[in-house]
């Protein structure tokens, strides 16, 4: 069985055959998979042995996009003196993301779209081109904070949604859907571990899919939030009330699989040689928009807060991005210190008690609610 015959086919692998499969991958690439830190949290990071793999994990607070857009990365080193020399740094390490959630695959593909547009970002794209995505469908919410079905973020991916392989847990085995050539080559590393799916396997998956709706919360009211934000139907006092609570920790942006913001700085001891690096940044900070003159076009906390949700929810951005800026992974619900995360904000908008009204921002403004 070679890669060309595997693509597009549905296979099955027994649960106990997964570690040998991963071990075969580890020979060629760094496998970033879920495992339990003996002192701490479940996490997705480089496996040192295939036996560490724990596909029954709940969640990693750090989205896998942070491996592709790291918190800090050197863009190039520079040397002054007789003539300026720039030495770019590209990260060409091969990475296989194994067992990441559907929402995170969507996050990675959204970021790809962002980093390809206008000015292709060679740093991100180099990492992405060397990455393979093996996703794991969620038959039930891994955490109570999950709300992906409301945001088109999961819990299961359809063909063409950006994964190379999707694993779906069934009784004692995984259904393996191969969605790309790269994915096919992973299966081809250890073809003896797989068999073709039977109608019984597919029926079990159908049954699981039919139950998903009951298992996931679908009450994040995203569409209503989009309508409110797009139509400018959120009264200023409500924005003020929400923004007042925000204490600018930055956690929601740093952990968001969609957020792409960074800032660029130089680091040098003598001004002659050093490095230019970029580091994560976030739009709720005042310094994010402050200009060199000291003037800040978004000086007030409320404007900064509004900006974040406007980008995530407004129709204006949806037109460009093709989707709302949230996948429902629930990380901001965990990390927000003052409970003004996406779900809380959407709930607050819902209380405004208006019917959803879809439309572009230039449509007639509805009357503001009291």
């Amino acid at each position: 069985m070679d890669a060309s015959t595997i693509a597009g086919r549905v296979q099955v692998i027994q649960k106990d055959a997964v570690p040998p499969w991963v071990a075969a991958m580890m020979a060629q690439a760094s496998v970033i998979g879920p495992h339990q830190d003996p002192d701490g949290d479940p996490q997705l990071s480089s496996l040192s042995s295939a036996d560490e793999l724990d596909l029954a994990y709940t969640h990693d607070l750090l989205p896998p996009t942070r491996h592709l857009l790291p918190p800090t990365e050197v863009l190039f080193r520079f040397q002054g003196g007789d003539g300026l020399r720039l030495i770019p740094e590209y990260d060409e390490r091969r990475r296989i993301f194994f067992g990441i959630r559907s929402c995170d695959v969507k996050g990675i593909r959204y970021q790809e779209q962002f980093f390809r547009r206008d000015f292709p970002d060679i740093y991100f794209l180099t990492r992405l081109e060397n990455a393979t995505l093996v996703s794991l469908a969620c038959p039930a919410p891994p955490l109570p904070t999950c709300f992906c079905p409301c945001c088109d973020g999961g819990p299961v991916l359809k063909p063409g949604e950006g994964h190379d392989i999707q694993l779906t847990p069934l009784q004692g085995r995984y259904l393996v859907e191969v969605d790309s050539e790269t994915g096919a080559s992973l299966v081809a590393r250890a073809p003896e571990l797989f068999r073709d799916a039977t109608s019984a396997d597919l029926a079990e998956r159908e049954e699981m899919l039919s139950e998903i709706d009951q298992r996931f919360s679908t009450t994040a009211y995203l569409s209503r939030g989009i309508s409110k934000v797009t139509n400018d139907a959120v009264p200023e006092e409500v924005w003020e009330e929400l923004a007042e609570r925000c204490i600018h920790c930055g956690g929601c942006a740093y952990l968001c699989p969609f957020c792409t913001c960074f800032t660029v700085s130089d680091r040098s001891r003598d001004g002659q040689q050093g490095e230019r690096f970029r580091r994560w940044d976030h739009c709720i900070l005042a310094g994010f928009t402050r200009e060199a003159s000291g003037h800040n076009p978004r000086d007030r906390k409320c404007e900064q807060f509004k900006r974040r949700f406007f980008h995530k929810l407004s129709y204006q951005y949806m037109q460009r991005e093709g989707r709302p800026g949230c996948v429902g992974c629930g990380r901001c619900l965990t990390t927000c210190m003052t409970a003004v995360d996406m779900a809380a904000v959407l709930m607050r908008f819902r209380e405004l008690g208006r019917k959803p009204k879809w439309g572009p921002p230039w449509a007639a403004k509805p009357k503001t609610s009291p």
Partner: protein
Amino acid sequence: MQRVLTVCPHCGAGCGLYLLVDRGEAIGVMPSAGHPVSRGTLCMRGWTSFQHLRRPERLEFPQIRLNGTLTRVPWDDALTFLVEGLERVRLEHTGGAIGLWASGRLTNEELLLLRRIASEGLHTNAVRFDSSLHGVDRIPAAFLEGPKAARLEDIQAADLLVILGHGLEEHHPQVASRLLKAMDQGTRGIVISPRRDLLAKPATLHLQVAYPDEVVLGLTSGRAGSPESLRRPWDDAKSRVLVYPLKSLPLLRELHLLGALESLAAEDGTKVLLLFPRANSRGAFRQRLESPQLGGPELQALLVVEEDPATWSPACRQMLHGLGFLVVQDLFLTETAELAHVVLPSASFAEKGGTFTNTEGREQHLRPAVLPPGEARPGWAFLAELARRLGVRNVGSTLEELRHAMTLQQRTPVPAARSEEPVAVAEGHSSLKHVPDRLGWMWLRDTVLRHTDDWQREHQDQWIEMHPEDAKQFGLRPGWMVRVTGEDGEFLARARVSDRVARGILVTPYDLLEGPVQLERAT
């Protein structure tokens, strides 16, 4: 990218965080979701706690002052120079000539070494541990250990939360977050503070007073003076948690308040949660030695570890100028280090092991995730070597041995710290009650935060805050630069004008200006 679980080096909450390490460099942090304190959250200080590590101005090599300039030398030479300098002062002067000044950011192991250096090596009692708690000579033992000492989990379980002081969301965000979420869930809250902050809104009652101690004192003394609105929820509640962030009040008021809390806490179902300012303030308090002599005329030499007394006050700066021998170990060339005769580079929290004791008394381990830059050494490694050279016996050379020594040391009673003469607490300006935001001042002066990119970007200015009517009376407009002048010195700050503060209250981030202050527009 690997992750190393360690502890945040900033406030006393002690959040568990992972340092994200790639190819030997700490490139970021993330909170630990399973850690009992952080539970998946970090404040801005925590999120940016890696940003000082690779700053180009980090100290990397030992330096000694030769012909007036700091000159790079090998560690061994610096230590020899240092020991000779200290020995010389010790021979020429009587006890109290050599002082030690250490920050609340040092680990328990480092503080133990400093204690031993003071008592067995230098025979001095001129020691100040954790100047953020300077002057607090006694904290009731019941607030630290036992049934009256609240832990963070108690916030969720309480019927009534009484929060004394302002600015918790800035100074103690982790605790503020828990208090806020508890009140969101319906727990009753009473906030007694000069400013309408984050926690005042969800609270059942906000008593806006300049000095919370006055209201609490009224509550204890036969309850005659306390308002009905405060007394009723107090009486109705079965379990109460009183939260006081240390350093929220001028010193003398703080000492009075701690006494008042002691009698309040005697009531059934009442616990007290004292918030310690720095990562290891509580550890430092347990081991503390504080001497009123430090800074007196007999002081000839001073060893300063990760503290910057030169920024403390003009008087303190003057004192440092007059010293014959000054030694500083720090991460950066602080204003104090600029005056020093010996400057030693120290490793950051991410580059060393050791333990911090958090505000609840939880002892937590730091783990080295990356190597220190250049020849920088962890404080404990330097102090152990110094102790040996000063003749302290059985010092131990690994962290394990130091910890063993600590468990032995705990059995010997800690000598009682001597209290200072109370300083007069003036009521502030003739027409404005002056509330010094002492914790704000502490963070403003913080050496590590001063070298943390994003923190600096967000905290460029110092602020004073006043009510719009008061601003009008003083002829000040929002955003203006104001010169604040008091008996102890002066500083510049921007005017923040908001009705968060009540009329008649002026909040400034300056610790020492307790007397009347003059405000004028700086041009």
